[in-house]
């Protein structure tokens, strides 16, 4: 199946671009491939990616990646951004999320109301 992959900023190098602005990869994967399979084919370590979209639906954020097992469909557009990207809560409140992301944020006591999810252990000044 065919997947359109957008790689932003420093991740563009995983799409063969020497610049660090953006790369577009037209990926061919076996049917039933998952996001993890796609990352493996790009040789992109999952911890290097940040905000991720599948067809415009938010599927992962730094520290919260419920999309690794998601099975992709032919024609999907998937976009990976780097760890210095951001999408503050108030600008994503009630935007479209994948089913897996909806489940992941609903399972949290804070309902996903955070700027990121990889800062949980921080307690500066202590």
């Amino acid at each position: 199946m065919h997947i359109e992959v957008w790689l932003y900023g420093p991740l563009a190098r995983y799409g063969g671009s020497e610049g660090k602005i953006a790369a577009l990869v037209q990926a061919e994967l076996p049917a039933q491939s998952t996001v993890a399979d796609l990352l493996a084919s790009l040789e992109l370590p999952t911890e290097e990616r940040g905000i991720t979209f599948i067809n415009g639906d938010l599927s992962a954020m730094p520290g919260l990646q419920p999309d690794l097992g998601r099975i992709l469909n032919d024609g999907d557009r998937i976009a990976f951004s780097h760890l210095k990207s951001m999408w503050p809560f108030q600008y994503r409140h009630a935007a479209a999320l994948t089913g897996e992301m909806q489940g992941a944020v609903q399972a949290r006591a804070d309902g996903g109301m955070r700027s990121r999810f990889d800062e949980e252990q921080l307690s500066p000044g202590e």
């Binding site: 957008w6 900023g9 660090k20 953006a22 990207s85 503050p88 108030q90 409140h93 009630a94 955070r114």
Partner: protein, 586 residues
């Protein structure tokens, strides 16, 4: 602390003691309360009965990080309601150090077209004002005027000023403040307050705080403890730390994200995705600068004491600076919304807007509506630049566009006007991001992307479990909570971007509350501070109601309810009942 009243009718001033009601207020809380208390809501915004209030945030002038916001308030010629527009600028701490709680500009000179400047200095034991003629600066490029003013008054002053757009009475005119290099690039842009300032014959406020005593603390130890916690949180968080998201890519870091979300309004809100987005992204700005300048260039502070430092500079191929800074909203308004993917052209337009004191958002929206109406093609950068020049030169077509998004749509008979309460929408599509749609619709300010920030999930969730995905009713509850929080933050003098860090780092949030209590001698809890923000919204709402705004004005534009937005193919479907709940339960 003083209240400084400046009467432009006869160019007189007086210093008053600060009334009890205003002593714990600052920034937006003070500008809005004063406008509510003193301005007839039915007055013409450009007539003698409107007032223009300047107030620094409560924490401005202290060592608190990122706390140099200056608020301006008045009745808006754009929305017909109350307006507070704030900017990060050295003007704020300088005013605070002079212990001037608010500058209230009143009246109007009988001489039409005559301008003065107010020179505010410290005179031994109190502030003093002199009125100087400003005729020589009228009609001039603000970059030229500011260079002359700094030559004349020295490098230690701070300046608030209006350019040609204000003089012409445009509803898309802002008030310019000097940046760290004394250029007119920091704007209280929204709502047409530049026209209000100019309508009073006031061209510049030149402020020299040399000799001023500095701010007073109720409990300095508590304040310092809080400031330390907040500084640590900002220095640690991935979005706000040195070489973090904002310091590296600036606010334009949002371009690719909002575009991928299908929420990047493109070609006057016809679609949510722009093919040229990556070319105008923060990543592109960083990489272009690196290529053109031969080194990595991180961003700088807009104002003294900012630790986030998110202001970029756009350099041309030849290494010369085109402009600083291009914010996400300006990049979008003059870029994607007009179908333009040429960063250098966008930077040039931002510089023109600064030179004429035009609000970049309202200007980009108005040009996009003109493009949508067939006046010129989407993507025509040269045509867009020519339209800004026509605005700056006061040509008839320029005057129509200077009236803003709604005025342009009205002039061309175009129902596709992306405005709420007459104010053009910023860079987030409310059909795709429904939460911000509720805030756009109901904000006391008109469509405003800075109206709904959040600092702690337990406060937004009223102590219970937060579930932002629940039914529409939660959207009203959350929008209300966010708007209260923002009204509070806008009063502290803090940049709203501190919220990104303190939302994730509770000690940062505690620190901000401790700073406030240390400064004011209060004992606010987080909940109480947010409730205080709610009181500010109440006076703003009361003013708007008395000015004639009704719940019918708390709606998104009709075309968004019947036109599907690609790629999600969604319409604005949050019900009127939900919109009404936001303020119905304040």
């Amino acid at each position: 602390m003083w209240m400084l009243r400046i009467d432009m009718t006869d160019r007189s001033y007086k210093l008053e003691e600060v009334a009890e009601r205003y002593q714990k207020l600052g920034g937006r809380g003070l500008t809005s309360t004063l406008i509510h208390d003193e301005v007839d809501p039915t007055c013409h915004p450009l007539g003698p009965n409107n007032k223009l209030v300047f107030s620094a945030g409560i924490l401005s002038g202290t060592p608190s990080p990122s706390s140099s916001r200056i608020s301006i308030g008045g009745k808006s010629p754009l929305t017909g309601g109350i307006k507070e527009s704030n900017s990060g600028a050295g003007f704020a701490p300088a005013l605070a150090r002079m212990r001037v709680k608010a500058v209230v500009v009143e009246g109007q000179p009988a001489e039409k077209g005559a301008y003065w400047m107010v020179h505010l200095t410290w005179d031994g034991d109190k502030p003093a004002v002199e009125f100087l003629p400003a005729a020589e600066y009228v009609g001039e490029d603000l970059y030229v005027s500011y260079a002359k003013l700094y030559e004349r008054f020295g490098k230690r002053v701070h300046v608030a000023g209006v350019g040609k757009a204000g003089e012409l009475g445009y509803r898309n005119s802002g008030v310019a403040f000097d940046d760290m290099r004394h250029k007119p690039t920091r704007f209280s842009g929204r709502g047409g307050l530049g026209a209000v300032m100019a309508s009073k014959g006031l061209k510049f406020v030149v402020l020299n705080s040399e000799g001023a005593p500095g701010v007073e603390y109720a409990d300095k130890e508590l304040f310092m403890q809080g400031a330390k916690k907040l500084r640590a949180a900002l220095g640690e968080h991935a979005l706000t730390k040195p070489q973090g998201a904002l310091n590296t890519y600036g606010t334009c870091v949002l371009v690719n994200i909002i575009n991928e979300a299908g929420a990047f309004p493109t070609r006057n809100f016809r679609t949510g995705r722009f093919a040229g987005a990556a070319k105008i992204s923060g990543e592109a700005i960083f990489e272009n600068n690196k290529q053109r300048m031969g080194k990595e260039i991180y961003n700088h502070a807009c104002s003294p004491g900012c630790v986030i430092q998110c202001s970029n500079t756009i350099y041309a191929e030849n290494g010369e600076e085109i402009v600083s800074c291009v914010e996400y909203e300006s990049d979008w308004a003059l870029g994607a919304n007009c179908g333009i993917d040429d960063l250098d052209a966008i930077a040039k337009m931002v510089k023109l807007c600064n030179a004429y004191s035009l609000d970049t958002i309202e200007t980009g929206d108005a040009i996009a509506v003109a493009m949508d109406s067939g006046l010129l093609e989407f993507g025509d950068a040269e045509g867009a630049i020519a339209l800004i020049e026509q605005m700056g030169h006061g040509e008839p077509l320029g005057r129509i566009l200077g009236g803003g998004t709604q005025a342009t749509a009205d002039a061309f008979g175009n129902p596709r006007s992306p405005a709420v309460k007459g104010q053009g929408m910023p860079a987030y599509e409310p059909r795709a991001i429904k939460g911000i749609g509720v805030t756009y619709a109901t904000s006391t300010m008109g469509a405003d992307h800075t109206a709904g920030y959040t600092i702690a999930p337990e406060i937004a969730g009223s102590g219970g479990k937060v579930d932002p995905l629940l039914a529409d009713a939660s959207k009203a509850d959350l929008s209300r909570a966010f708007q209260k929080t923002t009204a509070m933050l806008d009063s502290t003098g803090h940049c709203l971007f501190i919220s990104f860090a303190i939302l994730d780092i509770p000690s940062g949030f505690e620190g901000m509350i401790e700073e406030l209590n240390g400064m004011l001698g209060t004992h606010y809890t987080g909940d109480e501070a947010v409730a205080w923000g709610g009181e500010i919204l109440k006076v703003e709402r009361a003013f708007n109601e008395a000015a004639g705004l009704t719940p019918v004005d708390d709606r998104l534009p009709e075309f968004m309810k019947y036109e599907q937005l690609p790629p999600h193919d969604v319409v604005a479907d949050v019900s009127d009942e939900i919109m009404d709940q936001v303020y119905g339960e304040l």
